[in-house]
Each structure stands twice: as C-alpha cells, then as structure tokens.
Symmetry: C2
Subunit: 198 residues, 2 copies
C-alpha cells in the first residue's frame, strides 16, 4: 500500500496504540519522518526500555520498574490505610486530586469469572496475607462502580471482615458541578440512598 | 507526576506524536504496558529502524529506505509524465485513488521565503536538470491550492516553460458529492472560472 515497505511497516506498528486508525497512523509516521526524527528515536528507545524493564511492584502490584514503586518505598506514607483500585491509572488519578497519604493495592483488573479472572489473578491471596498481619487499620475500596467493580469490592470486603479489618467504600453519587437533570437514574438512586446528615 | 520515573518518561515521549496530549499519551502507555507489550516492542524496533534507515529517494525525493523508491524503480511507470506534489502523503493519496502511471517529484514542502525555504530547499535545481534532459513530456502540478502551493506551482511552471515542457495543473473546483450551498466562495469562483465545454 505504501510506496516504501518500511514506512508501511511503521504505519502498521503504530496501530497498536489505542485510538490510532490507519489515517492517524499514517499522519504520525510522516510527521516523525519529516519533522521529528529525534523525537522518534527517543520514543523508540524509551519504549524498548519500558517494555523490557517495567514489571509490577512487589507490594502493591502497580506497574513499576523498581521492586517497590515510589509510593510503597516512601517512608512518608501512612501504612495503616490501604486503598484498593483496579488499575495504575486509578492510582494516578487519586494521587493527582486528593490528599490521600496511605498506600494502594492495585488489582490490575476486576473479578470476571467468565474471562477466567479469579481472585488469584488479582493478587487477592497477597492482599489476604497482608490483611492477616494486622498492620492495615482501614481498607478503602475504590474499584469502579460497575457490575464487575462492585462484585470485586463485595468479595474483598467479605475477606477483610473475616480478618476484622475496617472496610470503607468511596462515595458514589452526583458528581460535583453535575446537574441533577442530566444525571442517570441509577446514580441518582445511589446518591439518594447514600444521603448523610449535615 | 507519575508513580514511576520510566512510565513518566514513556508518557512524555509519546507526546512527540501529532495529536497526542497528556491524557491520550497516558492511556497509550498503560495500554501497551498492561495489554500489548509485544506490540510495544515491535513498534520500538520498527521506529528505531525507520528513523535510522529512511532517507529520500534519489530521483523523486520522497521518503524511502532504498536509493530509489518503489515507484521510481518500477519499470512499469511512464517516464514521460512527472507529477509534482508537496509531500509523500500526497503521493500516497494519488496512488490510492487514481490510475496515474507516471512518476512523481516530491518537493517535501512549498516555497516559503519568510521561513527561508527557497527553490534549492525544494530540490528545484534537481527538477530543473531533469526537465533539461527532454525526457519529461508533461509536468503535472499537483501542489495544494493554498497561497504557498499556488506560488510554488507558478514558479515551477515558469521554469518548465523555459525548457519548452508542457505544464498542466490539476483541476480545482467543487468536490464530488459536495453541495454548492456549502462550498466556500473562493472555491466557487475557481470552479466557475475553470468551466469546460461538455
């Protein structure tokens, strides 16, 4: 299709990026080749290095090139609070927006028996051992409010209760700045049921 | 910003791709790390190779890893027709849509004196020598219908006329499937002025 075999290969390889179709892949390839070879070379190098070196944090399972991620290694974090999230991007989002100082536990997914993703695949055996140590005072469940996320949260809360650990779930309701008129009914029922005294 | 130095670098490097902002770069990085390491490795390799090996075709100046691009090397192409375009992507577009069998000459830009892009930077000295050989029977100007593209086309047509070569310009007018009502007035005037007997 392309007038050069290698450019054709480059366009094809760029399509492994999410959200990149044939047209944008072509635009990216020509942009790099015509205007930004240094950027392209650096990207190739960092990409190679990342795919090679980034594994999972031994303690919280998030993506990290070190044995312990920067958060788990930090001495400033409160080890008595543990927040359970589904993905590394969730850690990122929470770190950027709130003043949480505890640690995280990253499931790297959610329970999904039909896809063969059970408790072991999410490292829940590791979490279980950690809860057993008695060092975790509060387990904060911040999985997504989807069917799978809720099921996962339920499963983990049962586990934690078994060890007598306090479990909390982040609040779900009307997002700040949202207008009631445009909020879906499921969220509204949640918000109503979860009302608090002021 | 990221919980891992290397992931932060990867996100930063992905932003050299056109149309990729901080959020999409993050999404791309996590996608590759979580679901497609093989794709990431292949992309790194092809990218490295492309940045290293792809240069310009000796004959038509388009991007190519060979001394002669596949079109210039092909014996099936009609060497008496030469179509002048601004970028390799233009060659791609023409090859995909029309039955043109001649060769191309790729300027890799357009005349832009304010940016220091003169005739030499566009390889017009090379084109001049090629026109002088007398082997080109028709020079087809397919630069973009922008101010710079038109100026470039004008400059090249003067040059070709000096060598007694026939020069043509691709038609500009109402695009097929376009509705007159929504076409800008500049295009409409062009279409009107360029009307032909049927």
């Amino acid at each position: 299709m392309s007038t050069s075999r290698l450019i054709g290969q480059l366009i094809e390889s760029l399509r492994c990026l999410p959200g990149v179709g044939p047209k944008s892949a072509q635009r990216m390839a020509y942009h790099l080749l015509e205007y930004d070879r240094d950027g392209g070379r650096l990207l190739a190098q960092v990409l190679e290095q990342s795919m090679q070196q980034i594994g999972n944090c031994e303690s919280c399972r998030t993506l990290s090139e070190e044995q312990l991620c920067t958060l788990c290694a930090s001495e400033r974090r409160d080890r008595s609070q543990l927040c359970v999230v589904e993905t590394p991007a969730d850690v990122q989002a929470l770190e950027q927006s709130i003043g949480y100082t505890g640690l995280y536990f990253v499931l790297m997914g959610h329970l999904s028996p039909l896809d063969g993703i059970g408790p072991e695949a999410l490292g829940l055996d590791v979490l279980d051992r950690r809860l057993r140590t008695g060092k975790v005072g509060e387990l904060i469940l911040a999985t997504n409010p989807t069917v799978e996320g809720e099921a996962t949260a339920h499963f983990i809360s049962e586990m934690a209760h078994g060890h007598g650990v306090r479990v909390t779930r982040i609040a779900h309701g009307v997002p700040m700045g949202g207008e009631l008129e445009y909020i879906d009914s499921n969220t509204l029922s949640h918000a109503f049921a979860g009302r608090q005294d002021i």
